[in-house]
Amino acid sequence: MNESTASGDSSSGNQTKPTEKKKRNLPGMPDPDAEVIALSPKTLMATNRFVCEICKKGFQRDQNLQLHRRGHNLPWKLRQRLSKDVKKRVYVCPEQSCVHHEPSRALGDLTGIKKHFCRKHGEKKWKCDKCSKKYAVQSDWKAHSKICGTKEYKCQCGTAFSRRDSYITHRAFCDALADESAKAPSAAEPSADVDQDLEAGASSSPPVLPPPPPPADVASGIVPDNSNDNNSNHVSELLDSATADLSSSQILEELPNVTTGCSSSSCSGSSGSSSSNVFASLFASSTSSASLQPQTTGFTNLFQSISCPDYTPDVAPSSSSEPVALRLAVNQGSSIFGKVGPQERRQYPPAPQPALSATALLQKAAQIGTAAPNMSLLRGHGIFSSSSSPNSTEEWSQQKMETSGGSLASGLGLGLGCDSGSGLKELMLGTPSVFGPNHTTLDLLGLGMAASGGSTSGLSALMSSVNGGLDVSAAAQPFDGREYDNSQ
């Protein structure tokens, strides 16, 4: 309550003691005896009406200005408020269209009318930096900033909400929750059944969960409505435009109505947290069956039935469970853009990385560099030893023929028996950190054959060993090219 405006009860002649509370009129019903004051918009919006003549600093209240004047050693005067003299004032809003323009609806408080005017008829200049809310009154903005982001409900999937109701709605649709509850009660149910319902219209679905037919209905009913759905259709269209190849994948075949519903409309891409809201409205609008009351449990069940992981192998590769919202559209998306060329051109199944891949080769090289004292692979070619005799060449060829197409290590292992020189071995294993700042190199050496998946340290150790080997004058000889003259 603004203490600078008098608000004593005009009808009673009481002296207001300091401890006595000021009597307030009922809200919306101003004191009939009060003086009605209509201030101009400029006055209402003006923040600092009282200005110090010395430093031009503005103050909202005269009292504050007077106190400030003391600092300048200027004469100041604090007016004592005499409750008897001051009449109750009420203020009207200058805006014609406003309700409070009527004297009968005047507001009793100067600050109040100021704030009202700013809020309703003013420009929102203050913006929250965490969210996008805007405010016209600074105190509103401050109050909001304090609580913005503080109170949060966090779903298990990681999405946060500031409001309880949106949090609850989300939980109904969240796939993480659907996962958990799907695992517990009905672990063995393949939701493929439900999918097959969708695609083939077959009604032979086992009673997976409470009302199987309505979910199927609603699911297919949802599908055409999914045009508004917040899903990664943009992803599918993104890739649509990139690839003209739309031959169907499995998902596409299974959910034909989904696809058509999707591709015929542009879908929004709003964030996952709003998906639940959209879905809730879809459910509310599209459902007519009583079984689909907007209850959390009902929705969760529905989702479970539809979004359970696919266990049947003929169903699409995307096997993780997700809420329908995401799955229907996302799967369509993935199906549409699934045809990006790679699927067709590759004629072999995606096996674990075969040994011939460059990545695997590098890892092997790194291992060999750290573990094997010698690369007999190169021995015969005189890179590392001064003896590039024809013996070693033949030996190499023999070794090569003996090895199967299998692991290289065994092939090299055969050659590991003969050592070129102990000096080289030491150098190979020596100063590990010639190159890298990686101290893990030492670890690798200690661990011997321990493979560091793709790490540089192995390779740098290899390099250091190479370098070490090269430093030996004996090893440097081969590079003068003398040895290779014979074949030319």
Partner: protein, 460 residues
């Protein structure tokens, strides 16, 4: 791979009639691959130490094994050996210049290769999907949206964004996209596509082309208006700015940044005067980092005024979100060997990706390997100073840089990750993996991180 492997050990014999190394023909692919790796390292060692004779011999040996249309390792080796040869040849500037003087670069081919990279490998698409999702989330509730694309070559990303924005529940915003590129024709093409898309969907849209080199960008040209929500998208661009100012050309953004990071932040209001102050400082005492500056461990950042100034300028625009996609590998080491080993792993993974995507005979694959990866490899290995643009760095380093410039990380949403995962799964290839790293998303091949996507906002 399997089908072609059984036929012969050497799937394609290098063009030498009289190979002095007859035994090389009988090498099994694995052994040949390992040998190639060794030769590459050996050769690089020699190049680094200046013994060019030995390097020459190593290259000669490589030439008998490597081939641009062989198996993965052969291809990698051919491009790396070319890069090493390029590096060596620079020792004779006259010869080098003469050798390269008749090169023709066909712009249409370059564009075509980028399109293929977009189509056959998932990285761009995943980056687009995640970036767009982050932008949409940040722009919730905004009526005026301004997106700045630091390299506006691929309109597909923005087409998707236009579609999503026009379909959002609160109605479409007024969208403005500013595209930056060196060539006006590319921007015009992009503009055309986007305007058509926006008109189809009735979204109020403007495209503003800015013809400029990225490092010479003048932020004023971007015409960021107050009151609009700004998003900045950078896909594999920022690393080019790490090239040191060897040539002494100071970018117009540099005056805003210098040694005094903190000063800049504190006096953000008086950018004009502070900028002059800093510029004087820079002229006097501060020398731009040369290549001898250490690529240090994470704690101490190498000083690179260009990128810091650039990021500061971007920060000064107060973007609501800045989405950055970058290669996640350290190719900015000061020593050649460091760069060679890191890039070997990185490009091995990329070549493996291509191997799984396209057959060996595919001309698209050959083009991508040669014109895209091969050129990057050449730049990393052979170039120094301002010419070396492909200065990829690890994600942690980028994160540090962004935080230093006043940005705070915006963790990518669960939904964005989900979309990215779905997208990768559609490629039906086991090799791609996606992982989350401190709010950023990293796309990996097997275990090797390749591309990272992260989102940032102004931290007060």
């Amino acid at each position: 791979m399997f089908q072609e492997d059984g036929s012969s050990s050497v799937t394609s014999s290098p063009p030498s009639l009289m190979s002095p190394y007859p035994w090389l023909k009988d090498l099994k692919p694995e052994e040949r691959g390992l040998y190639l790796i060794h030769l590459l390292i050996t050769c690089a060692n020699h190049v680094a130490s200046g013994s060019l004779e030995n390097a020459n011999i190593a290259l000669d040996q490589i030439s008998h094994l490597a081939s641009p249309d062989g198996d993965t390792m052969q291809r990698i080796a051919s491009y790396f050996s070319e890069a090493l040869a390029d590096r060596i040849l620079r020792a004779w500037p006259g010869v080098y210049k003469a050798f390269r003087s008749t090169r023709i670069s066909v712009v249409a081919e370059e564009i075509h290769v980028r399109k293929m990279f977009f189509e056959f490998l998932p990285f761009m698409k995943v980056a687009f999907v995640i970036s767009n999702q982050a932008i949409i989330e940040a722009m919730e509730g905004e009526k005026m949206v301004h997106v700045i694309d630091l390299n506006a070559t691929e309109p597909t990303q923005w087409c998707a964004l236009i579609r999503d924005l026009s379909a959002r529940p609160e109605g479409p915003p007024h969208l403005r996209i500013t595209g930056i590129h060196q060539k006006r024709e590319v921007l015009e093409q992009t503009a055309h596509v986007l305007i058509e898309e926006a008109e189809k969907l009735d979204l109020p849209f403007q495209f503003h082309p800015v013809v400029s080199k990225l490092e010479d960008l003048d932020v004023e040209k971007l015409r960021v208006k107050t009151g609009e929500a700004l998003a900045i998208s950078s896909i594999m661009q920022l690393h080019t700015l790490l090239a040191s100012d060897a040539g002494g050309n100071r970018s117009p953004l540099a005056p805003l940044k210098g040694v005094g990071v903190h000063l800049q932040r504190a006096a953000q209001m008086n950018q004009g005067t502070l900028g002059e102050l800093l510029e004087k400082d820079m002229v006097n005492g501060y020398s731009p980092s040369t290549d001898s500056a250490s690529s240090s461990p994470l704690s101490s950042m190498p000083s690179s005024p260009k990128i810091d100034g650039y990021l500061s300028a971007l920060w000064g625009l107060s973007p609501k979100v800045m989405v950055v996609t970058e290669q996640d590998s350290d190719h900015n080491g000061t020593s050649l060997m460091e760069r060679l080993s890191e890039s070997l792993y990185f490009y091995a993974a990329l070549f493996d990706c291509l191997e799984s995507a396209l057959p060996r005979a595919s001309i698209e694959r050959l083009k991508m390997e040669k014109m895209l990866f091969g050129e990057e490899i050449k730049n990393i290995i052979a170039c120094e100073g301002g010419e070396r643009k492909q200065r990829h760095e690890r994600l942690e380093k980028w994160n540090q840089r962004f935080e230093l410039a006043g940005f705070g990380n915006v963790p990518l949403s669960y939904y964005a990750m989900l979309q990215a995962k779905r997208l990768l799964q559609s490629y039906n290839c086991d090799g791609y993996k996606i992982k989350e790293d401190n709010g950023c998303v990293v796309i990996c091949w097997q275990d090797r991180p390749l591309i990272s996507v992260s989102a940032w906002r102004n931290r007060r």
